[in-house]
Symmetry: C2
Subunit: 234 residues, 2 copies
DNA sequence: GAGGGAATTTGCCTCAGCGCAAACAGCCGA
DNA sequence: TCGGCTGTTTGCGCTGAGGCAAATTCCCTC
């Protein structure tokens, strides 16, 4: 926990409305932890001992099904909470969180949640607001899965990713962490083959560039057209 | 609000841990409203003026997409909260709620939420626990949509419905409100044609009976086998 | 810089499930 | 009782996208 981290945290919308002294009290009770790439922050079904704030890096939240499928629930960027099972009355984590690059997280013991909730009401309100967005996102995803075809869903997924973790480069907007065709497939409920075919086609048309675990969107506008189904399929 | 309703409410897990006097104070601030069949309790995009407790009847929560698709998010049974946008920091309803039969709801003005949350902490905790379940359900649904085929999804949907609103009859377990093929299709991301074909096939095999807006599950076990994909397709 | 493993590309085949269309049945109101 | 409306069934053809398999390319390590 550097002072840089400290001021970074203070700027998060999550801590809006919280006095500086309170914020320090909260941070004082957390433990800063490094998670190496591909290591779990927490795992599905395990007892929820802590909740976390991602300070640096990117984390993928996945659920595994009994029959061996993996579904990516969402990606987490710096500044977001994760593993907040306690806030929702659960005692185990419903999914696993895997670091996709080396990460730094702040960890609070789960038992602290009730105290935090009553002591820092804005924190609790902000957290539940974030939960509201997640629920909203989940529903949006259900709707996508119900009504859109694969091409649209993949386009939506890429747009979501560049919005959340896009980094401008001279080529276009780069998704700022390693992501494979398989990863995109797990976000959209399709197969890596289909994703590969789509990216190839888009690359031919020149509005996406991609390589090994790497995607750059050159013209987001064209993706948007596909995502919204405003395209006569050519 | 009859005294019967009053004792019914007191029994809900939602009000667990709340003193009788507090419960009366809460109820005292609500308005009891009747909603006729097919009428909305609240509508998507509209400003969230109230949150509701369903006392009697069944409500369908739907989201409409710009391109005219409708997706059923979930069905609500008596005893469940709905329209709790305020608890999640939203100012508009993210979906519409339509009465599928004549209903009775208890409505609280939205502004009351913050007061309730601080005055009756168990109520707030219970509510967020319910939100946690919904999030869980939403994720389960995403996983279903990503990894299962239509037959499994429809089987899952029927199982969910009989679990939530099943009523034992001499024929089997009846879904206790009018539900069409189209409705099931909107729950599972398929078409009424496909649902119709499936139900016909299942009826031939004798473990489901159905008619106009009516479904009875004769052997839930057989449905479960299909839902879990433990079936060699025949 | 050679070898090996992982990620990606691509071709070919297959089929679940959708779209379309037509026929049919049950229920309600006049 | 007689339409007429809404919900349901069913046939047929088509296709998006998955499964399988092989080839290729990239990157990392030794």
């Amino acid at each position: 926990m550097t002072s840089l981290d400290r001021s970074l945290i203070a700027g998060l919308s999550l801590f809006e409305g919280i006095a500086a002294a309170d914020l320090d009290r909260m941070i004082g009770q957390a433990r800063s932890v490094r998670i190496a790439k591909d290591q779990p922050v927490f795992e599905q079904e395990q007892e929820a001992h802590s909740f976390f704030l991602l300070l640096d890096g990117h984390v993928r939240v996945v659920k595994s099904t009994p029959d061996g499928h993996e579904v990516t629930v969402r990606y987490i960027s710096p500044g977001e909470l994760m593993g907040i099972a306690h806030a929702l009355g659960r005692t185990t984590y419903p999914a696993s969180a895997i670091a996709v690059v080396d990460c730094v997280v702040l960890a609070w013991p789960g038992q602290l949640w009730p105290t935090f909730a009553t002591t820092f009401p804005s924190f609790s309100a902000n957290t539940y607001k974030a939960v509201g967005s997640r629920l909203q996102d989940a529903h949006a995803r259900i709707i996508e899965m119900s009504t859109e075809q694969v091409e649209q869903r993949v386009a939506h997924a890429l747009l979501k990713l560049i919005k959340q973790s896009g980094k401008k480069t001279e080529e276009g907007i780069l998704i700022d962490f390693p992501i494979s065709r398989q990863d995109v497939a797990e976000m959209t409920g399709t197969t890596l083959h289909t994703v590969s075919r789509l990216l190839s086609a888009w690359e031919d048309q020149g509005f996406v560039k991609s390589g090994r675990q790497r995607v750059v969107v050159v013209e987001p506008h064209r993706l948007l057209v596909i995502a919204e189904g405003r395209v006569a399929k050519g």
